[in-house]
Symmetry: C2
Subunit: 340 residues, 2 copies
């Protein structure tokens, strides 16, 4: 390995000068700088970043902790984070912890030992030990930002999709098209995202003065089959002309159920989902949905992190990302369909 001492010797200067040149600190005669640069290039010099880090207490590394990179929700925000990090000449260390509190804490420990300059965490649940650990990070003033649901007791920056608003938009879209009896297929009671989305749905219905009867609310577990069953139940019980599903997969299940009942989409029942998974665009009819700007979410989280790294104090604020309505075939107005 070639060091600044090697360069220094060959360029007939001191190691300090080499360092100054390489870090463009100025205070160096242009001539000597050129000389150093030339030798460095010739010897294919590349600084030893751990030695540098040991001195400067900066590693140009950030840590990212998520439950599982295999979960299709994550690749996009991860890429967003990578892109802003790499542009700043940072690398990102990624750990999948399966939402296991023990693993999460161990990983945080390991990452701080490595000396990452900042940390982005997707907290599964705010268990007490984990919260304590994150507090510790704040105490040693390590920049941290949370990706995903907010935990108010943690005073850290947080960026998350505005689930309520997205649900509102979806429901309102249905309502504006002239559908009145909009049913909902929601997720398990405990799930935060589902709860937020249900709230948005309710608000829209209220704002448009549409009553929600009990028969219009059905619950699934985010999986295909549960959407299918929930839709069947809905169709049985009630006259309804549209369904909002809190995720696309259940919407796809519902689509199958509706078809089986001999009903047409969107003629008899309009359908809209949430997430904009790839499949939404491939199904027939293609599924209208609410898209989360997932890449953006990661990008913003990273930008917040770098603001902290660059010295700005974190405000412990909640950054809400605006979702987008994606209109496809399952919510085309019948009239519009026949005229086109």
């Amino acid at each position: 390995m070639v060091t600044i001492y090697d360069i220094a010797k060959e360029a007939n200067v001191s190691p300090a000068t080499v360092s100054r040149v390489l870090n463009r600190q100025g205070n160096v005669r242009d001539e000597t700088a050129q000389k150093v640069l030339k030798v460095a290039k010739k010897r294919n010099y590349s600084p030893n970043t751990m030695a540098r880090s040991l001195r400067t207490k900066k590693t140009n590394l950030i840590g990212l902790i998520i439950p599982d990179i295999e979960n299709p929700i994550y690749p996009a925000p991860v890429r967003g984070i990578q892109d802003v990090a790499n542009r700043k000449d940072y690398s990102v260390i990624i750990h999948s912890t399966d939402g296991d509190e023990r693993k999460e804490i161990d990983t945080i420990r390991r990452l701080t030992a490595v000396g990452v300059d900042g940390l982005i965490i997707n907290i599964s649940e705010a268990c007490t030990l984990l919260v304590e650990e994150i507090r510790r990070l704040r105490r040693i003033s390590l920049p941290v930002v949370a990706l995903g649901p907010w935990h108010p007791d943690l005073e850290i920056d947080c960026v998350s999709v505005n689930n309520e608003k997205g649900a509102y938009m979806a429901t309102e879209h249905l309502l504006k098209l002239g559908y009145h009896k909009v049913a909902i297929i929601k997720g398990p009671e405990g799930n935060i995202s589902s709860r937020e989305r249900f709230l948005g749905y309710k608000k829209a219905m209220e704002d448009y003065c549409e009553p929600i009867s009990e028969g219009m609310i059905s619950e699934g577990n985010f999986k295909l089959g549960s959407g299918y069953k929930a839709a069947k139940r809905l169709i049985e019980k009630n006259k309804l002309d549209a369904i909002f599903c809190v995720n696309d997969v259940m919407a796809l299940g519902a689509m199958a159920a509706i078809r089986e009942e001999g009903l047409r989409i969107p003629d008899d029942i309009a359908l809209i989902g949430f997430d904009d998974i790839e499949l939404a665009n491939l199904s027939r009819p293609s599924l209208s949905t609410v898209a989360q700007p997932k890449y953006e979410t990661g990008k913003i989280a990273a930008e917040l992190l770098f603001k902290q790294i660059e010295g700005k104090l974190s405000s412990g604020k909640y950054y809400s990302i605006e979702p987008n309505l994606v209109i496809r075939e399952t919510t085309l107005k019948v009239k519009e369909m026949t005229t086109t």
Copy 2:
């Protein structure tokens, strides 16, 4: 930050002893060891890994370079790599380089500067500069393994799915079910994977003495629409009773085309894809396909890397991963369907 000096002082021993204890090197009286351990725990000591790395030349970091984490092919192998790395107390730094040679080289440089103990690369194409860079890594004897298509001129370990075999299995499956006129929708000429899969198809057809007429070969670009069009062309030109598509997405397109022609799947035309994307199981009828054990691929790559890291010389061998046939509704024999 608490250092071994702090621990040493508080435990009334020398820093050297603390280090010995913490690294379980032995040669330390049990009593003193306990004392040190207690203080370390109490002070919540965690070693500074950059300082350690500076001495030991080991970072417990490995680098991973892929084109794009957002491409659904990658999350699974990435997770495989993470799992074996984390179990060995390693972290993995992941970069998405969009298959851009310049970025790939820069990233390799950066990662070696960081001092990763090994590197896993998914080489898009073996451009000369990149090849040169990888040779350099071998020269400084940094462990490297390639994930994906092999480049024979690079003498490094490589792990990749056996595309030819997978295609053979798919085709043979169709043939064994009694289909004879098996058409293929392949990918762009330049694509290595597609070429390998085409080879497997051809071999199976030959082995079963089925002639391949020109009208049975169609080409797409891996996207949905191209599969649709390719299938239409196929149906027009020829009597065929089955189609093998070199990827699932095109198979889904083909499915739509077949349905539009008023033909039934698998009664009139059987259909099989390659990749086993999530969608394959959700479509109706569900799509038979060839699954690549993607997680396994990453796992094996990482295991090979650690073998190198732990001192075994790399053999520059090609590790071929066996694909699995996933039989679903699009290749059910009609007879079987009616009897069940």
